[in-house]
Symmetry: C2
Subunit: 201 residues, 2 copies
């Protein structure tokens, strides 16, 4: 990669992060190119589709979240590991408005640039869920896809301005519904825990 290309790529990505953080994943690509002082066609050269751009933006954090599941599996008891991970996943999913819809679409579309990362994420969550189920602390009738959907739904709630104030409360209720009855004592959406994956773009 030529030096100027490298520079454009990095600057484009940084600008995209800002614009998308402000206007959501459907932000104008023209706007991003403009703010990055780069021809619109240059953006397309580096990121042929919007998904490719999002992939470049999200992959790092997405993969961190996947690895974090493995770590929690070893350091925390099954229920705690599951809840802490859901907490971080929801927190991540909220970092870009509308990201959650793109991610759930990517799950279904093998050709999406985001497919692999999202699919891995689902597997990582599924593993924590299975551990919790084996330990008898999570409902046995829930699949990894269900877990992903619930994380998505919680992210969606957080995206709606009218529900924002209730998001934490609803997190507790809905995340609690995954657990076996009796094992839920006041689940709260936690402040960002140290070492939890976060977007730094």
């Amino acid at each position: 990669m030529r030096a100027d290309a490298k520079k454009n790529y990095a600057h484009l990505l940084a600008t995209a992060g800002e614009v998308i953080k402000e206007h959501g994943v459907e932000a104008s690509l023209r706007d991003i190119a403009r703010k990055a002082d780069v021809g619109l066609a240059t953006l397309y050269r580096h990121f042929p589709t919007r998904e490719a751009l999002l992939e470049a933006l999200l992959r790092k954090t997405l993969d961190e979240l996947t690895r974090e599941a493995a770590k929690l599996e070893q350091t925390e008891p099954p229920q705690q590991a599951l809840l802490l991970w859901i907490n971080d996943a929801v927190r991540f999913v909220r970092s870009y408005n509308g990201a959650v819809a793109v991610m759930s679409a990517a799950l279904d579309d093998v050709n999406s640039a985001l497919h692999a990362s999202c699919s891995n994420l689902r597997s990582a969550g599924a593993r924590l869920l299975e551990n919790a189920q084996t330990a008898g602390v999570a409902r046995p009738d829930i699949s990894g896809l269900d877990l992903f959907a619930i994380i998505g739904a919680l992210g969606w709630i957080g995206d709606q301005p009218s529900f924002g104030s209730r998001a934490e409360h609803l997190f507790g209720i809905i995340a609690g519904s995954l657990l076996t009855v009796g094992s839920d004592d006041s689940i709260k959406l936690q402040p960002r825990r140290p070492n939890a994956p976060q977007n730094s773009n």
Copy 2:
């Protein structure tokens, strides 16, 4: 209203119903005008904003759903009334892709054409919820807004193609989480019940 205006209005609304059913609430207004064989400015004359068009499209059913809550309150025991109503609300919310986001935004925006209908809907649900709480069959820490958010989240799940297959199952889990522990025995998303409000546009 002149005869030709009346005819255009009705035809526009019918066409909008079809197009929006196919392409979701963000469907192209130009497309709707085109398919209705009417100038684009005519659509704007009858429906000055997209919200106004949606309001015309949804209000009838929305109000029916509100009235249905009152009926269920009198004919069913509190828990049954609540669950049946949530069932119908989720079913309605899924009738147009993306409607749920518009409705939740309308809740917050007093100037939205949909504000009144959505606000009434929330109150109607809140009443069923309160009855269930008083009877001790629903969690006491849930508000009418929470209920609305949960209905929205379930609608959102149904809107995502990747989760469509799990929507019914997740309905049972999440709706169940509103109930007090012990009172949930296998809640299922029901087929459309006779007399439940539905879109006929």
